[in-house]
Symmetry: C2
Subunit: 358 residues, 2 copies
């Protein structure tokens, strides 16, 4: 049995296309009676973009504090706030931001039509009822959240970082305006762009493969290398190119390898953001990615980005233990990369030595 793969049904791409958001939202207002609900990265509070939101009376704007990665509790709170604002379902949920904000939009929408709490839906195909219409507007390129079927959430109680993997989680419409990424700090632009590079090389080097995923992933990898080996990763044409690489990488996203589990450990235990956590992970995984690690090293050097050493230098034994546990729990990706006996390679000692080398 092969999986029936869903694509994001619609996308608009182009410099300045943010101006078309109003038309997209109005089309939804014409179709459904509820309000438009906007989730906006708190970075934009008080900035020019806030004034350009196509907001009307009765709509709701919620800012998403992305200082830390989204949690299941945060989703439950946002869902409650949305319901309290208007008991009708939104005509559309619009998320404007990086991967964290895009994932919040997906997760909250799921919770508006599915009973219980966000934590109940972390896993594969647990979401049952269709969500309200959703529009994704990335302002940062690389996570692939705009077209993936997951929304990754931290769950402190269970000590895991896991998404609501479901076709229902996907956006119905994307608006891809490269101009929105122009103001991203350079380091963050690099770390996040590298997320595309990393989930694609993990997919390409793994054992769970198919030709279409390989084709999209390889194209995204090639584009990342062009961007990050060029003189300026944030040059005009690269902003657009990176937005597409993220989109293609997200479409191909499926099976990651060793990088994402190690990265997830950092996020769960140290609250390290996903993009930079991936960079820390690959920085010590050269033995598993012998072709790709040297390219990554050239890219980070070329762009003059700094990854401070010593992230895990002064951790307690309990913290190191927690790092191991929240990494090796990701059996599917680690099996994809290293086979079912991955724990013979990734012993506790080995994993601890990797973290200590960061």
């Amino acid at each position: 049995m092969y999986r029936n793969t869903k694509n994001v049904p619609f996308y608009i791409l182009g410099k300045g296309s943010f101006a078309q958001l109003g038309d997209l939202v109005d089309a939804r207002r014409a179709a459904v009676a509820g309000p438009a609900v906007f989730f906006v990265d708190h970075f934009f509070r008080g900035r020019e973009l806030e004034g350009r939101l196509p907001k009307k009376d009765g709509d709701l704007v919620l800012f998403v504090d992305t200082t830390n990665e989204p949690t299941t509790e945060q989703i439950d709170d946002f869902a409650a706030a949305t319901r309290a604002h208007d008991n009708r379902l939104p005509c559309t949920v619009v998320a404007i931001g990086g991967g964290a904000t895009l994932d919040v939009g997906k997760a909250v929408a799921n919770m508006l039509t599915n009973p219980g709490q966000a934590a109940d839906y972390q896993g594969w195909d647990l979401v049952k009822n269709p969500a309200p219409h959703k529009i994704g507007v990335p302002t940062l390129s690389g996570t692939g959240a705009e077209c993936s079927r997951t929304c990754v959430l931290l769950n402190a109680k269970r000590g895991i970082k896991l998404g609501m993997n479901s076709d229902i989680t996907m956006y119905d419409q994307l608006l891809l305006d490269p101009e929105l990424t122009r103001t991203v700090p350079r380091d963050q632009y690099f770390y996040t762009g590298m997320d595309t590079y990393m989930h694609c090389i993990e997919s390409l080097r793994g054992s769970y493969r198919n030709v279409i995923v390989d084709a999209l992933a390889q194209k995204a990898v090639d584009m990342c290398e062009e961007i990050f080996l060029s003189d300026d990763m944030m040059a005009e044409e690269n902003l657009e190119k990176m937005m597409i690489a993220s989109y293609l990488g997200g479409m191909s996203a499926g099976n990651v390898g060793v990088i994402h589990p190690i990265s997830a450990g950092l996020s769960v235990v140290l609250h390290t953001h996903h993009g930079i956590a991936n960079c820390y992970a690959l920085s010590v995984l050269g033995e598993f990615y012998p072709e790709d690690y040297p390219k990554y090293a050239r890219m980070i050097e070329r762009q003059g980005v700094n990854l401070p050493k010593g992230l895990c230098a002064n951790l307690s034994d309990d913290q190191l233990k927690a790092l191991v546990a929240s990494s090796v729990v990701h059996e599917k990706p680690l099996t994809n990369a290293l086979g079912p006996d991955f724990r013979k390679i990734l012993t506790d000692e080995k994993v601890i030595s990797l973290f200590k080398a960061m």
Copy 2:
């Protein structure tokens, strides 16, 4: 204003995935009361595939004679036959075949919910009412018909070859089983595969561009070169690769150049099939495609495929005039390739000399 681009919402990909067609159709039966209607390339009549159709009582199977390219009259006849069989709308329209059959499925579905005749809808965004659900099952790779928003039809009265360009025309579901292409005659496999190569190089060399289309088109071109410069274009792994190249090329299809208009002339006047007509066109267009023509020449030689010379050697003046008219009528692609003054380059004499060189 940027266009809102639609993707094919769902696809299943894999060797042997044809066995899942029954599940897809059953899901539609559960949703909608009407019959399943199958359009099947007449090549499969009496063959093993016919016996594997997930047909139930009340369903309709119509074989599509693809000796010639589909015409508007043929679509009207099929639509009438479908309505006569059952006055309810089909729960799904399944098309199984090459580009011609896939286009028939799209066009007939449009005519089941839109009044008038097929010829009324040749053009851009003329189809107004949503069509019944459609499943596309390609048995030949290269046209991109499985994921394009058009269905190309010959219209003898108007002397044109033009599709119903509309999001509504697109398939709702694809089933991509590379095994179905194994029995395609070698020459046809080559000509049809080259369709992907050609519409992608036309897009890449044109002036109407965008980064996402370029990325997909370039990937499809690269895959075609791998396939057709390998020892055997029909080796196991190449069947799957070509199916993906066609899919990616179809997703990127937008703006063609000089090849397709010249090819369309051959189809309108001489009823030459699209794939081989494209090959004839590129065979005389080296001056416009200086990078790509030599690669094409290497590919056709490597695969030992024959393109008999002298296609237009003995035509009447009227036929030559008709060839010119039905080529230069395609202003949009010719402007894309050569600019608005394309007729200064493609004079009547020049176009006639191209046809005579085939």
